[in-house]
């Protein structure tokens, strides 16, 4: 037992170990990162909450849809598919991923102080900056796989439980048709097209009142002349016009998300989670406590960012452009509904305008500034 202590009385050994292990360096070593990862991972309550929010909620939602679809397929559509995918990713995982990561970051940034461990660590002689920076990879080792796990489940269900037919505006349409193909299909199904698909005017389409019923059948209101009063050739010509007008919108509807979209969407929500972690870490370290920091991060994500992303305030527009949530919303992959609402399909954006370059710069600035603030506070804090 005493052998490991034998060098205690050797003055020559003083500092040699510290020199060798670069104790004054601001870079953490692998063991520091690994033990910090262990410390965070062992927080059972926090981990359970993070798993429930990040993996559990999408899983439960999709599981219920699967069960309902299996039990009553005519009443409940398929559990997966393109629309479900885009809705979950942009509406749930994007926001929840940020909050989950921010909670972990705030925890990692403050618990050493609140639990009295920071003193022990400082007394080792290790650089305080290194102690701070060890938390970033450790946090990423938890957040990135967790977000990836939740996202993978969503992708799997949305691909494997996707509908076999495309339900476009209530009309069952074959998926993936070209413009010519859609025109041909419309000419073959003129009643469904003219009664079910939207038409904005501008042509000669003048069809008697009709609509698509709940079971997909064409319905004419009582007393209306009925579609049989219209010559079939006219009906087909009108259906082609409707198809031509709706093609742009139709072409953005798919049975299941493409691989490209899934990869881009996955990287996008991982980016949002990484931002949440690092900003939360910096804020937690700066404040020295978790609860208020987490509340501030939630307020930023679900109140301030949506407000500042859509309402253009002329004198504050550059401040608005500096909001990190707006910047990440501008990097959203096409094909997803706009984050924080405000339009869909990656089409016309109602967000405060911002170039991609500015958005990238804003994100980098947030990561650098909050890391710097956290590291500075940890280095200067009396404890």
């Amino acid at each position: 037992m005493t052998s490991v202590f034998e060098s205690a009385t050797s003055t020559n050994a003083v500092g040699s170990d510290a020199t060798r292990d670069r104790r004054g360096s601001w870079l953490p070593n692998g063991a520091m990162i690994a033990t910090r990862f262990m410390e965070l991972r062992k927080r059972r309550g926090l981990m359970a909450a993070l798993i429930v929010v990040n993996i559990g909620i999408p899983t439960i939602f999709l599981t219920i849809r699967l069960i309902l679809h299996v039990a009553a397929p005519k009443s409940y559509g398929p559990a997966g598919g393109y629309d479900i995918f885009t809705g979950i990713v942009a509406g749930v995982m994007y926001v929840f991923g940020f909050i989950v990561a921010a909670t972990l970051g705030c925890t990692a940034g403050s618990v050493d102080l609140t639990e009295g461990m920071f003193r022990h660590l400082v007394i080792t002689g290790r650089s305080r900056t290194a102690l701070f920076f060890a938390r970033i990879p450790a946090g990423l080792m938890i957040v990135v796989p967790m977000v990836a796990a939740g996202f993978t489940i969503v992708c799997a269900v949305c691909v494997f439980a996707a509908p076999t037919k495309l339900d476009y505006q209530g009309v069952t349409v074959p998926a993936g048709l070209s413009l010519k193909g859609l025109e041909t299909w419309a000419a073959d199904h003129p009643k469904e097209v003219v009664c079910g698909l939207p038409y904005q005017g501008g042509g000669q389409v003048n069809i008697p009142a009709c609509f698509i019923g709940q079971k997909g059948q064409v319905v004419t209101p009582p007393g209306a002349p009925g579609l049989n009063s219209v010559p079939l050739a006219t009906l087909k010509a009108d259906a082609v016009k409707v198809a031509q007008q709706d093609y742009v919108d139709y072409s953005q509807h798919f049975l299941s998300p493409s691989t490209s979209l899934m990869v881009k969407a996955g990287l996008w929500i991982e980016l949002e989670a990484i931002i949440g972690l690092i900003v939360g870490l910096g804020l937690g370290s700066l404040m020295g406590q978790r609860t208020v920091a987490v509340i501030l991060m939630i307020v930023l994500e679900i109140i301030l960012t949506p407000l500042l992303s859509h309402a253009v305030i002329p004198h504050l527009i550059n401040v608005q452009r500096g909001v990190v949530g707006l910047a990440t919303a501008h990097l959203e992959p096409g094909g997803l509904p706009r984050a924080f609402g405000g339009g869909g399909g990656g089409g016309v954006s109602r967000l405060v305008p911002e170039s991609t370059t500015v958005a990238v710069c804003v994100i980098i600035a947030w990561l650098v500034v909050w890391s710097g603030l956290g590291a500075w506070r940890m280095s200067t804090r009396d404890t």
Binding site: G15, R20, E39, E115, M117
Partner: protein
């Protein structure tokens, strides 16, 4: 703040310094309150050194300054010969410390907490986790979560954490706090065994009895200032002496002694006399008192020099003397 004085003026390391801790003019202020006031402290290597002071005297603040937990406002300091904060990493590589109550991550086991601390030290520290736990008697509870630990167990874990760095210098702030008598006994034994291995243990405490039993030398701090320091034996030798005399006629003996230079502080007690002699009085005075009394026909049954305790000496030299009187 004289920041330049905090830098190492020599610019060279001197790990062969005879002092484990050396401070000159060290000062730390909190607003108008001077918690550490121009402290000159020399802690020799290889001994148990008590850093004593009443509550609020600035003991913990000095330790926090030494360990880099807070910044000094003025003065110079070195640990194991390395000037700090300039070579803080080198100095603290062989320092272990407990400051205030030892606290750890409650959701982790004792062993896991030590793994975190060892990771911040050199690679060899990871190999010292088991021996450290064994040494403080925590092997059986090493895999229990710290939230289930008693105060005494956390103190032991704190000492184990100190040992991870194979320290030459241990700075223990009130290590006896919260320990039961058996725990205090174990801690005392551990400190003595650490010193016997050539390590220096700097012990901050207000438990004077424990310090007197454990330490070789002490410094007394009061109102942020070190007012005395040195080996306990030397310090107490310079303290006032008390001689108790049991004799046949105490009143007559008092009258007789009052005519002598050393009879100015004589109290008559039920069993005899209590004579207070000035600091530095030689032991030959005791024989002289005996001769005087016997020569005047007073029967002397017992004549005893009372050893001044660290506690009574402490009260003499600190401002708390007036408060306790």
């Amino acid at each position: 703040m004289s920041a330049q004085t905090l830098e190492d003026t020599s610019g060279t390391n001197s790990p062969d310094s005879p002092w484990a801790v050396e401070t000159h003019g060290l000062t730390k202020r909190f607003g108008d309150n001077v918690a550490v006031n121009d402290v000159e402290l020399l802690v020799p290597r290889g001994c148990a050194f008590g850093y004593l002071g009443p509550n609020g005297a600035g003991k913990t603040t000095l330790i926090r300054v030494l360990l880099g937990l807070t910044h000094a406002d003025a003065g110079t300091m070195s640990l194991l010969g390395f000037p700090v904060p300039r070579h803080r990493d080198l100095a603290l590589a062989r320092v272990g410390a407990i400051v205030d109550e030892p606290r750890f991550h409650g959701h982790l086991t004792g062993r896991q907490n030590l793994q975190i601390l060892a990771a911040a030290r050199e690679r060899a520290a990871r190999d010292r986790i088991e021996p450290s736990l064994e040494r403080v008697g925590m092997m059986q509870r090493a895999d229990v979560r710290v939230s289930k630990y008693s105060m005494g167990m956390r103190q032991r874990l704190g000492v184990a954490a100190c040992l991870l760095g194979d320290p030459q210098l241990l700075i223990l702030d009130e290590p006896m706090n919260g320990l039961d008598p058996a725990g205090m006994h174990d801690m005392r034994d551990m400190i003595q065994s650490l010193v016997s291995e050539g390590r220096t243990v700097m012990l901050s405490s207000h438990l004077l009895d424990e310090v007197e039993r454990t330490c070789d030398a002490v410094a007394i701090v009061d109102n942020g200032k070190v007012i005395r320091q040195g080996p306990i034996a030397e310090l107490l030798a310079g303290a006032a002496m008390e001689v108790q005399v049991e004799c046949s006629t105490p009143d007559r003996a008092r009258s007789l002694l009052s005519t002598t230079p050393f009879g100015t502080h004589v109290d008559v007690e039920a069993s005899g006399l209590s004579i207070h002699l000035a600091a530095g009085t030689g032991r030959d005075v005791i024989a002289e008192i005996n001769r005087l009394l016997v020569g005047d026909g007073i029967d002397v049954f017992r004549l005893q020099e009372i050893q001044v305790s660290l506690e009574s000496w402490f009260l003499q030299v600190t401002s708390r003397l007036g408060e306790s009187a």
